[in-house]
């Protein structure tokens, strides 16, 4: 079964068309990257799949559940990490993980989820401090922990390493990779071409609401006779 199937997806905001008929699939246990410049339509596509935005036309299914009809079922098996996500500032890191975990299980299952969150976020003793006192990197690690601790079948990650320093970004990429090894399908967006090449099994290049090219990094580089994905992108949108 496909983790995600997007067919001819169109999304309008009033008279403005943000996504103009894109189609792609994400397989189970795969990292699929949507890459493109700011304003290309990446976040809109992820928000539609994460059940946050309505579909103007086309279809989206997540593990066979159709949106928007079965949005409730989709929310049980996905986890979404927005680019500019935050956590409740008056809670401690541990309280925040507890709050989220309660939506996904009770008793032993709840404890397992929280333990996984603590392990992924790896904040040590600081987990007992208020989120308000965290650095940007610590908050992002907490949020990545929150997103992946629930063992989602599909993790939707919008710019997962956005704004992080090299070490924190590397740590987040390591966490994502280990989740994929555990069977999680990942759909991520990024405008960091290097990161996408390192993380993703397949890539779709999106510009102005349209997918201009897709395939593995190697396939795309060969097709566009480019040394890296950045070069592929530049050639693809010309």
């Amino acid at each position: 079964m496909k983790a995600v199937e997007v067919r001819e997806l169109v999304k309008d905001y009033g008279n403005f068309r943000a996504i103009n008929g894109i189609s792609f699939e994400v397989n189970e246990g795969e990292v699929f990257g949507l890459i493109g410049p700011n304003g290309a339509g990446k976040t809109t596509a992820l928000r539609v799949i994460a059940t946050l935005l309505q579909i103007t036309s086309g279809s989206v299914t997540v593990f066979g559940y159709e949106l928007p009809k079965e949005a409730g079922e989709v929310r049980k098996i996905i986890s979404y990490l927005p680019e500019e996500a935050g956590a409740y500032k008056n809670l401690t890191g541990r309280e925040y993980l507890n709050f989220i975990a309660k939506f996904f299980g009770e008793g032993e299952k709840f404890q397992d989820i929280v333990q996984r969150g603590l392990k992924i976020s790896n904040l040590g003793e600081r987990i007992n401090d208020k989120v308000d006192t965290y650095s940007k990197g610590m908050t992002r690690r907490l949020l990545v922990g929150r997103a992946l601790m629930v063992n989602p079948r599909l993790a939707i990650l919008d710019e997962p390493t956005s704004g992080l320093d090299v070490l924190n970004a590397q740590e987040v990429r390591r966490i994502i990779n280990s989740s994929v090894e555990a069977g999680v399908a990942v759909l991520l967006s990024s405008h960091n071409m290097l990161e996408v090449e390192l993380l993703c099994h397949r890539i779709a290049l999106i510009n102005d609401g349209i997918i201009v090219a897709s395939g593995t990094a190697a396939e795309l580089k060969k097709e566009y006779d480019a040394r890296n994905i950045e070069e592929v992108f530049v050639k693809a949108i010309k």
């Binding site: 905001y13 009033g14 008279n15 403005f16 068309r17 943000a18 304003g39 290309a40 339509g41 990446k42 976040t43 809109t44 928000r47 994460a50 059940t51 946050l52 935005l53 309505q54 409730g72 929310r75 049980k76 996905i78 986890s79 979404y80 990490l81 927005p82 500019e84 996500a85 935050g86 956590a87 409740y88 500032k89 989220i100 939506f103 996904f104 949020l143 929150r146 102005d208 609401g209």
Partner: protein
């Protein structure tokens, strides 16, 4: 340089969304002032009364001349029943009955009794203005009789000369006949229902409402809303959870506020009057109705707040959105404090009834006077209002609006509008 900063600040703060509520509220208050009328004018107007003089003695003649000069007398006869009917029909304030032995009593060192039958229309602070004018007339009658007694140089008791008459009050108020109390005494007795209850409800609505609107603003400012909306929880549960959480916070804050305020207000209350003696005490079912009315009104207020909260872009804009709730709560509280629901114009009645928080403010007073239909009708209305607002909130939570905000209609194709990221 400073001009540049002032210009920027002004443009940022003086926006249509903050201006509209203030303009609307100013217009509403202006209209309300017009509708209620001017207290000064009411005081200047001659009170409408009826007089039954069964004495026709020296002192009743003095009383009659003062009363006919300073009041608009619509009945002057010998039948108290007929007089009372006339006063009621003509929307008068009171019927004054001077009994047969009035003058004789004064001459024999006994105060002359004046029976006053009050027609009380409402228990608001402004409703007692007319009865206050009649009390002033009685004072004038006393002064005139005192003057006459002093001129006569009689050997009467000086205490009697200074206070030659006494009153026997009977107040007719919404079907109840309350003996021994004038409207002003009754109004003083009902001060906690007239002032304390509206203020408690107003504070509760404002504080709980502020919590829920701020919570929506904070969700957006702290970027936690998107995560919340992708969790496996029904939108209606998010809406109700936010409402109940805010209601608890609001109730705690209002309780703290009211401890101080109620202590302050008790200093104005008469402690020697027992409501039960006048058939005005509430029973357990009445208190239950008051509780339900308050609970449903709170839910109605919060459901309205959560709809308003969806328009908040951040914490600061949330603060501006609290203003309409504050204005509505203040409006209800002031109307209930100053006027009785039955004595306000129809347009105002509709407006007061339409604001769900008005109902618990009016509930205790209405139940004291057995006006169950107003209380139960108010509860039903507030429940329907809440259900509609929750449905609207859930609909907004299910739409794009919560994340994208409003999108300008006339947007050139291919150019992004403000308010969302592509």
């Amino acid at each position: 340089m400073i001009g540049n900063i002032i210009k920027k600040e002004f443009k940022e703060l003086f926006v249509l969304s903050t201006l509209i509520p203030i303009v609307v509220v100013a217009i509403v208050y202006g209209s309300v002032g017009q509708m209620i009328g001017n207290v000064g004018e009411t005081i200047k107007e001659k009170p409408v009364i009826g007089i039954v003089d069964m004495d026709s003695g020296d002192f009743s003649d003095i009383a009659m001349s003062v009363l006919t000069e300073k009041a608009e007398v619509i009945y002057n006869g010998n039948d108290a029943g007929e007089g009372l009917g006339e006063v009621r029909e003509e929307n008068g304030v009171a019927l004054l009955v001077i009994p047969e032995s009035f003058s004789q009593n004064i001459y024999t060192n006994h105060p002359g009794e004046i029976e006053i039958y009050w027609i009380m229309k409402g228990a608001g602070m402004m409703d007692s203005v007319s009865s206050g004018a009649v009390e002033g007339l009685i004072q004038s009658v006393n002064q005139e009789i005192s003057g006459k007694l002093i001129q006569q140089d009689s050997s009467l008791d000086p205490a009697l000369v200074l206070a030659p008459t006494t009153r026997i009050d009977t107040t007719f108020f919404k079907g109840k006949e309350i003996e021994g109390l004038s409207p002003s005494q009754l109004g003083n007795m009902l001060i906690s229902q007239s002032i304390v209850i509206p203020i408690v409800v107003m504070m509760l609505i404002i504080l709980a409402g502020a919590s829920v609107i701020s919570s929506m603003g904070l969700e957006k400012e702290n970027k936690t809303l998107e995560t919340l909306l992708t969790l496996p929880v029904r939108r209606s549960n998010i809406v109700i959870g936010k409402m109940v959480g805010s209601a608890l916070v609001g109730m705690i804050m209002a309780a703290i506020y009211m401890i101080g305020f109620s202590r302050y207000m008790t200093s104005f209350q008469s402690s020697d009057i027992n409501l039960a003696d006048f058939g005005l005490a509430l029973g357990m079912p009445d208190y239950l109705l008051v509780g339900i009315s308050l609970f449903v009104a709170l839910l109605a207020g919060l459901s309205l707040c959560i709809v308003l909260g969806t328009f908040a872009k951040n914490y600061r804009s949330a603060q501006a959105l609290i203003f309409p709730i504050t204005a509505l709560a203040l409006f209800s509280a002031f109307i209930v404090m100053f006027k009785d629901f039955d004595t306000i114009p129809v347009v105002l009645k509709v407006l007061v009834f339409a604001i769900p928080f008005s109902h618990p403010m009016m509930a205790i007073r209405a139940l004291m006077l057995d006006n169950y239909s107003l209380v139960i009708g108010g509860i039903a209305y507030a429940a329907v209002f809440t259900a509609i607002m929750i449905a609207v909130a859930v609909r907004i939570f299910n739409s794009d609006r919560l994340l994208t905000g409003s999108v300008r209609r006339r947007v050139a194709r291919g150019k992004p509008a403000w308010g969302f990221r592509r």
